[in-house]
Subunit: 366 residues, 2 copies
DNA sequence: CTGTTAGCGCCTTCAA
DNA sequence: TTGAAGGCGCTAACAG
């Protein structure tokens, strides 16, 4: 193809397109197929070059106010909006971040997703949402994440080390939300569930409780495992043992687990520690309505999370609350920093939460 | 490349790029700037043309299994993923849909967002999320929606007629979730809030209640207005009048509104109808704890929504529940149909909900 | 079945 | 300051 004079570049772009559009008209009865308006259309109407239009829509590009005005008017008249997709293709910055979130996280912390989104929005990034029914669906979803050329990822779901490394290889910054990578050095924001466990158990021991029961989390819940590990550590240090039964994190399961727990122990424990609030509420209702117990006089019940219903007057649950606002803010700013400067080293930020004393556990002297 | 007069077309793409990357190396200490791997890289490695690679990654394109295998291996080794953004640019189909949702909707129906996302996911579309703190922020957000060339929009927030028309003009299908357009002919899925109001009120009248009070919604809530209009219609038809006080949809507001309501009426009404569940719960707690009333023996309280806490044993609220699953499914399928065929006429789908009898209202004979 | 070619809509040097 | 030209990574005719 040496002597190829005629067909270099794409000179007649504008005119060619128009021709295409015209040719398409007869076929489509509706004008629904009407092309989107591009910077070329605006340029033509304003009587300037396409690149001039581009500059008018780019932050901090040089253009005379005269030109700017002509372009803006034409754009207005045509209803032109720069195509963020095309822009991203060339700038290698899509301004898209992926949020991968499990239904479990969303169920107990519906505000997390919302907070993340508004904060990213405020910093000029859009959220591409990936919802997982089961934490194990991650792999299936990651392909899509990569395909969309997101600038970064917030993962509020379990990622394997291999998956974390994969992001690394692709040069896409990741921040884990409320979990750590097993071994890979990934950035994360997390609350200190272990410490929460410690705090809550210490508080109960200090109040003079002498016997305990535990309603444990599903075996695959990182958060639950940490919490209960924290609890167990303290109890053990004080010489207490605590029988436990696993629940599934659901409200119903709190009641059934409590029943089972009581079957296992000869004597009713003074305090029951549940791996999350939903089960604690279930346990309270079961204790009150099925066992006729007064809470907290005859039985103390505590949870973790600080979900909405825990504050209702009928429960006033004693629990530990995650500082969701601070955590989402941290996740967003850590990710944005790493998008700006991908060489930044990973960082873990750990947040402590508030102990909500509530009224579902005896915390004063007996 | 025989007598290649330097600059025609883009033949030497691969080599040129490599050169660029190499040039960038010295500057960046890290290889973080490493280019993403493209179909050209895969093609080169597999010893085939770039379009061959493209075909291997397109559904239903013709390619020999031999070629397919070579390409797939090379892609695997390089960690190649087709760039969905670039693909969308040329196919005019981004496979992106926007979901615009207000914090209020998200607060009372956290599952809506999740359901929409998983359903779109199942049909091959990704969700670009736009969260509104206030319903009035819509305008601000629409620019972004247009910029990202989404294939369609689900709006669970108040859109003005002008905004609906704007989508129309751009040829982007829209489905309104849980609201109607004022006048513009837009597709929507909605539950029949008016009918909910009728049902609930009829049920209370049938049970023999003779006096009523209303805890109304904020004045700008479409949903609340409809519900209460339905209630009022029935009460009026039976010759009852009902004093009302406005709440803000929040739990706290249920209690304060109830207090105010009782101040307004000489005699305590038999039943109080709240525009949503959150306020109903607040009213119940206030009635029990501040007024020492037994619910429902001394006062019946009902709500709308069927939010999670309404089912807790301590409340067992009498309410009307939205069929969220059916509604989200309808919204998604309506939108997808219109993306496939933009000439489809708008359609409104109206869903009836379930009356949850609960235990917060006397529904049997007095 | 495979490779060639011409863009999708935009940004970005490079000259003028 | 402005315009011309060359891609970003990919798909889609169209030849062969």
């Amino acid at each position: 193809m040496p002597g190829k004079p005629p067909k270099t570049g794409r000179k007649p772009a504008g005119s060619r397109r128009r021709a295409v559009a015209a040719a398409a008209q007869p076929a489509a009865p509706q004008i629904s197929d009407r092309r989107r308006v591009t910077s070329y259309d605006v340029a033509k109407r304003a009587g300037v070059s396409q690149s001039a239009v581009s500059r008018c829509f780019t932050e901090g590009a040089s253009a005379s106010s005269d030109l700017r005005e002509k372009v803006m008017r034409a754009a207005e008249e045509l209803g032109y909006r720069p195509n963020a997709i095309a822009r991203g293709l060339i700038t290698r910055r899509s301004n898209l971040v992926a949020v991968v979130i499990s239904s479990r996280t969303n169920l107990y912390y519906p505000e997390v997703l919302f907070e993340l989104t508004t904060r990213f929005e405020a910093r000029g990034s859009r959220v591409l949402l990936f919802a997982l029914e089961h934490e194990s669906d991650v792999d299936h979803v990651l392909d899509k994440v990569f395909s969309y050329q997101v600038d970064g990822v917030v993962a509020a779901a379990r990622l394997s080390d291999a998956q974390v490394v994969q992001f690394e290889r692709h040069g896409i910054p990741v921040v884990l939300y409320n979990r750590f990578a097993d071994r890979a050095p990934a950035s994360s924001v997390c609350c200190d569930h272990l410490e929460y466990g410690h705090r809550l158990a210490e508080r109960l021991v200090a109040a003079g409780h002498k016997s305990f029961g535990i309603i444990d989390s599903p075996a695959d819940s990182f958060v639950g495992i940490e919490r209960i590990k924290g609890v167990r550590g303290v109890l053990k240090a004080h010489g207490f043992d605590a029988p436990s039964v696993r629940g599934d994190y659901g409200y119903e399961s709190g009641g059934t687990a409590l029943a089972e727990l009581l079957k296992k122990t000869r004597k009713r424990p003074a305090a029951v520690i549940c791996a999350n609030d939903a089960m604690a509420l279930g346990a309270i209702d079961y204790a009150r309505n099925e066992l006729g117990l007064e809470i907290p006089k005859q039985l103390s019940i505590v949870g973790f999370d600080g979900i909405g219903p825990a504050y209702l007057a009928a429960y006033r649950l004693t629990t530990v609350r995650q500082p969701v606002r601070r955590m989402t803010e941290a996740a967003v700013s850590m990710l944005m920093e790493r998008i700006e400067d991908p060489t930044l080293a990973p960082e873990k930020r750990m947040f402590s939460g508030d102990l909500v004393e509530g009224a579902s556990a005896r915390l004063g002297p007996a």
